[in-house]
Amino acid sequence: MLSDAYDLFWQYQDTYLAGVRNALTAAGLGLVLALMVGLLVGMVRFTSRGRLGKAMAVYVSLVRNTPLLVQVYFIYFGLPALGLTLSAFWTGVLALTFNSGAYISEMVRGGLNAIPKGQTEAALALGLNQRLLLAKVLLPQAAPTVLPAVTGQFVQLIKDTSLLYTIAVLEITKAADDVGNETYQFLPAYLVSCVLYIGICVVLNLLVDLYESRAGFSKHKRA
């Protein structure tokens, strides 16, 4: 069967590679956008006890308490209902952003909360405003703990792209399915996608580890 999979991959490499390319692009775009959403939401929740903070809390718990597949459908069918039509690919990116943004916001908030209160008090006592407090004092100190977790989120995003199959985005799982449908060799076709996911995620995890040990090193140097 392994050799069947091997043959299938070479035979349909265009399909598979397009799937990989789309999955990586969707995950990459999703990560960048989710990082922005996550930073913003995390900072708002850290600073605001008011209405805005509550609204963000609702968003985060909505995402955390519903399956990603439901969120994907919701956006896929919801956007047109609001008069907005996006391609399947961008709908997928938006769903990934919406989902990962909430998780990243929790990482950001956790990182900010972990910094001793004395840092905030000293900054305020010196006259720094909220913006400077976050930008110059808190975020730089939270970054070494938050960034590795965020990079880990990228691995999660790669795996999550498989759900975009349901809205007909040609990513790795859809590619395998297409190949299976054409050749009726479903198991080997999916085996290829498995190997692709593993390959990508293992490499990414290694990069995260490398990054973490680097960050640990520089933190140690400072600490």
Binding site: P116, G118, Q119, E121, A122, A123, L124, A125, L126, G127, L128, N129, L132, K136, V137, P140, Q141, R222, A223
Partner: protein, 246 residues
């Protein structure tokens, strides 16, 4: 009107009455020392001056003729500096950047200007050679001296100290007190929460004894140590002096 004045200040933490009709004042270049048992409200009082303890539930504070509650936060923090028990240096910045960052971001000084000022201050406290290290590489006493430089770099008109030496090993207390002594001699107006009674005796214009959020007694050091009026003050003094002697 005194340079700094607190009149009948009250402060609550939800239902807990942390400051009860606290009235204290000091003139320019004076040193007011506040002492009292743990939980008596010493920190709460000086943090209230700096808006770190939440709004007052009664009374008022004025500084240099202006109502503190109405002073814009920026002005207030620029004119009244604070030194904390645990130093609170920014851990991700070098000693030099700790002192330069607020000058640049709050006062708008140029990088060169801020660094020059920082170096001059570090020189003054004997830490010029530590300019490029990170706070964790310093001893507690060194960190506290850097924290004092950071506050001084903003050219404050008054400095608040919340137990600046009580997190230090005994052998480091002296070096920090020496810096504070020089500050007092240079005419800095200071409110100091401390149990260093030697420092208080030598430098305080007035000593206030707080208990349960109330000012039990306030007097110039000579009188405060020689003839405490209140029994509770006497008890506190005998405990603390006994402890410091031993």
């Amino acid at each position: 009107m005194a340079y700094f004045e607190a009149r009948n200040v009250n402060l609550h933490f939800s239902s807990f009455h942390a400051l009860r009709d606290v009235s204290l004042s000091l003139e320019k270049s004076d040193v007011l020392v506040i002492c009292g048992p743990s939980g008596s409200g010493k920190s709460t009082f000086i943090r209230a001056i700096n808006r770190l303890a939440g709004p007052l539930s009664g009374g008022a504070m004025s500084f240099d003729g202006a109502d503190l509650a109405r002073m814009p936060a920026r002005d207030l923090h620029r004119r009244i500096g604070m030194v904390f028990q645990r130093f609170n240096l920014f851990q991700h910045l070098t000693v030099l950047d700790n002192i330069a960052l607020p000058q640049r971001r709050v006062l708008g000084r140029s990088k060169a200007e801020a660094r020059a000022r920082a170096m001059a201050l570090l020189e003054r406290v004997g830490l010029a050679e530590k300019a490029s290290v990170y706070p964790v590489q310093l001893s507690g006493g060194q960190q506290q001296r850097v924290a004092i430089c950071r506050a001084l770099a903003m050219d404050p008109a008054m400095l608040l100290f919340d137990e600046p030496t009580s997190a230090l090993d005994p052998e480091m207390v002296g070096e920090v007190l020496q810096v504070m002594r020089e500050l007092a001699a240079s005419g800095m107006t200071m409110i100091v929460v401390t149990h260093e009674m030697g420092f208080a005796r030598e430098l305080a214009s007035e000593i206030a004894f707080l208990e349960s959020g109330q000012v039990v007694e306030k007097a110039p050091p000579g009188e405060f140590f020689a003839h405490p009026r209140e029994e509770r003050t006497r008890l506190f003094l005998s405990q603390i002096l006994h402890h410091q002697a031993g």
